[in-house]
Amino acid sequence: MNITDLTVHELIDLLDKKEITSQEIVKAYADRIDEKEKDVQAFVTVTTDDASKMAEKIDSEGRNGKFSGIPIGIKDNINIDGVKTTCSSRMLENFVSPYNATVIDKLHAEGLISLGKLNMDEFAMGGSTEHSYFHNTCNPWDLNKVPGGSSGGSAAAVAANLVPWALGSDTGGSIRQPASFCGIVGLKPTYGLVSRYGLVAFASSLDQIGPLTKDVTDSAMLLNLIAGYDEKDSTSVNIEKKDYTKALVKDVKGLKIAVPKEFLAEGVNEEVKNAILEAAETYKKLGATVEECSLDIGKEALAVYYIIACAEASSNLGRFDGIRYGYRAENFDNLREIYINSRTEGFGPEVKRRIILGTYVLSSGYYDAYYKKAQKVRTVIRDEYQRLFEKYDIILTPTSPTVAFGIGEKSNNPLEMYLADICTVPVNIAGVPGISIPAKLDSNGMPIGIQLIGKHFDEETLFRAAFTFEQEVKFRANNKPEFKK
């Protein structure tokens, strides 16, 4: 038995049967990180020493709950008290957080142990993790390929068995797209289901924290841990707490699934397209109704996304001014220069590009034409989903139009990079939940993910459909990353 190969629910079984200790689990991961991290480079900060101490404490004092003694990896834009939160930016290279995010408080209360902070595109802006100030992260299936992004470190770490599961954040696809590129499961919950308190904001009206896991069962378990109303986040929604593992039933009979034709049109890789059509066939075979439908919002959603997300980001990132914390330029002669030099030197090019875009669309004279109009179109997009969900339970699309691309391949073409978000972005615009699950490998041995989109706060149906598919195609059982060099 190789501990790091196991899913979390398998680890819990062993812990429950006392066949394994928490220290053994943490040790196995620490060894695995020693072995593979140099190839994958998923981490910004490794905290396995602290994790070992925690595990020792739990083993000696006894576990106080189901998840006690289970390790986890955390995207480096989620605050842990006393640990660096860098957002993979020079700006926060040395920023040690003075407080815990709500999700971290929840995990700590259950006895979960953090193994470290995971690499990402700077301030979660990007889809390849190439925008990290520190280093690229490599895709475990092919080390010359990107892991996706922005939660690329989280996805690669889970795929490479460097952590059993991880938290990421998703503003326009930042959990689902890297999950798809790395052949794992990634869920963006409904906006408002998980507290954002302690997640360094990129775009407040779109950001959600969510799980990146080896399988759907782990995804449902991790969502159980982090979901719920938080009085510290006014946008979190006060709904009844659910046990999502109850939805893990292999049964899609009668489920109505829509496949929007626009998401299989030009620009979508042929093998990706075929994987979606095969998935549709699989669902049909299992008793679901699958119909082609129309959801012609891709272009508009992308435009709306880059206006709203950049507008909010331009304001959210104002606090990184070199005054109270974070990077401050060494040379300046006055206040203006502290600001300009610190931000010029502290932010990378992608972050600056989006701050400039966002500042522009909020400027007086342009506000109505861009930001205000984008808000109106956002309502239209939400209504479009509403319309489809009157008839269907689930919408099936690709997670990304392509599989993972080569490192350096798109990094000089921001527009092409933005277009790669076309399948995931509309889901954030509408605030509905979406999950990416691996379907198969393409002809080059790279994973292809399918995306299932559900109604607001109907994660259960998503889990049921995802679980059924997973049990049927057995992707994880049949495929392993090869660390191709």
Partner: protein
């Protein structure tokens, strides 16, 4: 006073710190002072990842202020971000309200030499205060203190309805008084919890167009508001008379030199990039919520003034004075309840008490004794236990070392002598010692009586009941 052919047009943006226990978006205390950066948490220090949560008390207080100034309350409101960089603004945006303020279109009335006048209020909105910069006197740098960052404010924006510095002062005093009455702010101007941005322009009398205005920022005393407005109006008139244009700009009033200085020029005109704060949800108020606040409002100055004039027969002048401050008015109510002599109470407030405050350069909130104590003092005078002149000495004692007036006069031995036997003794002694005055009186010189009474008062160190003295002297002299 400005030239007769010009008139001023003045509008005020009044910032008032609310006296909620906690800040507007976190649970830090709002208390003034404290070591720098001790009333702070990750939220008000704008640590990455923190989120604001609106303090519902702030909404309640702002609605109270709106209702007390005759505003209509908006049932659908929201918070917006005002983006700009400054070291005292940790998020690099201030959470404020832009196009949907909580309160709209109210008015308050002020007294002018021409009678009552309504000053219209355009809007009242809620927002957070910024921190404070302490500039090192040795030039080693500036230090940011975020204790004040996130303290709740309301901004009350008037229409440009005031036509003189005195009207602006009256308006500001009226607002202060209302905000004190409804207990939403301590209105301590010296601590900056009530301050005004003053917009001034001038125009030729009879003109209906507005001139170019300038804005004086952060004025925090009545005196500087009056001086600043007069200075600024004269400066603008002089510019116009010299054929120059007034520049629309933001100014800083300097109390020491008595003049204004430009703070920033036009090129720096800020684009605040207002947009709705996506971290906060819309503010929705039900009819019931607003109605409940309305019902719980304390009696406001207008209504008290009416009551004092109609039920207690005070003159308009006295009623205006007494209601000019919640503190006067509350003392008045309490004292009147005790002594049942409203006229005497208002006289004491207007003359002796106001005089002491004036000498001490203090406001009515600094009166150290209660209305009950003042009421007792008046009662003692009315009953003849002490004389009016002893009463004034008791008042001074009340300012120094407040306690029950009956206790003060007992401790000081100031009780009036009203015992007939004792008084008769004094009267006979004085008559014996002053035969000339007795003779004068008998010869028809009535003035001699006053001298004799004065002698008797001297003899008793002011404690003899003057009415009884008078009466007894007359009786004895008739014999």
């Amino acid at each position: 006073m400005i030239r007769d052919d010009y008139e001023m047009v003045i509008g005020l943006e009044v910032h008032c710190e609310l006296s909620t226990k906690t800040k507007i978006f976190c649970s830090c205390p709002t208390e003034f002072g404290g070591e720098p950066n001790t009333h702070c948490c990750p939220v008000c220090m704008a640590m990455p990842g923190t989120l604001p949560v609106l303090n519902e008390k702030v909404v309640e207080y702002a609605v109270k202020a709106g209702l007390a100034t005759n505003c209509s309350i908006s049932q659908n409101s929201k918070n917006d971000r005002k983006n700009y960089f400054y070291p005292d603004l940790p998020k690099a945006y201030q959470i404020s309200q832009y196009d949907k303020p909580l309160c709209n279109h109210g008015h308050v009335s002020i007294e002018t030499p021409e009678g009552e006048k309504d000053i219209r209020i355009l809007r009242i909105h809620i927002e957070e205060d910024a921190g404070k910069l302490n500039h090192d006197e040795y030039g080693r740098g500036s230090f940011v203190d975020l204790n004040r960052a996130g303290v709740p404010l309301i901004e009350i924006v008037s229409e440009p309805d005031m036509r003189s510095a005195e009207e602006a002062e009256s308006y500001m005093r009226k607002l202060k008084s209302i905000l004190e009455y409804i207990e939403v702010s301590d209105c301590k101007m010296q601590e900056g919890s009530l301050r005004a941005d003053v917009n001034v322009s001038v125009r030729k009398k009879g003109s209906t167009e507005f001139g170019t205005r300038t804005e004086m920022k952060n004025m925090n005393s009545f005196r500087s508001i009056v001086r600043g407005i007069n200075y600024e109006a004269e400066r603008q008139i002089e510019l116009i008379e010299n054929g120059e244009a007034v520049t629309q700009e933001t100014l800083r009033w300097d109390d020491i030199s008595g003049r204004t200085f430009s703070m920033r020029d036009k090129e720096d005109a800020q684009d605040y990039r207002y947009f709705p704060d996506p971290d906060l949800v819309a503010i929705k108020l039900s009819d019931e919520y607003i109605e409940n606040i309305k019902k719980a409002l304390p009696e406001l100055p207008e209504s008290r003034k009416k009551r004092y004039m109609e039920e207690m027969d005070l003159s308009e002048k006295a009623a205006n004075f007494v209601t000019s401050s919640k503190y006067y008015s509350n003392i008045f109510d309490e004292a009147t309840e005790k002594c049942n002599n409203p006229k005497a109470v208002s006289n004491w407030l207007m003359s002796d008490i106001a005089k002491v405050l004036n000498e001490r350069e203090e406001e009515a909130d600094k009166i150290p004794f209660s209305g009950k104590e003042l009421g007792e003092l008046i009662e003692l005078i009315d009953k003849g236990t002490i004389s009016n002149s002893i009463g004034k000495k008791v008042l001074n004692e009340l300012f120094e070392n407040p306690k029950a007036p009956s206790k003060i006069i007992e401790e000081k031995g100031w009780v009036q002598i009203s015992d007939e036997g004792a008084i008769k003794e004094v009267v006979i002694k004085v008559l014996e010692n002053n035969p000339q005055s007795v003779a004068d009186y008998k010869a028809g010189k009535d003035k001699a009586l006053g001298f004799l009474v004065g002698q008797a008062m001297k003899e008793t160190r002011g404690k003899a009941n003057p009415q009884m003295l008078n009466k007894m002297f007359i009786e004895e002299l008739k014999k």
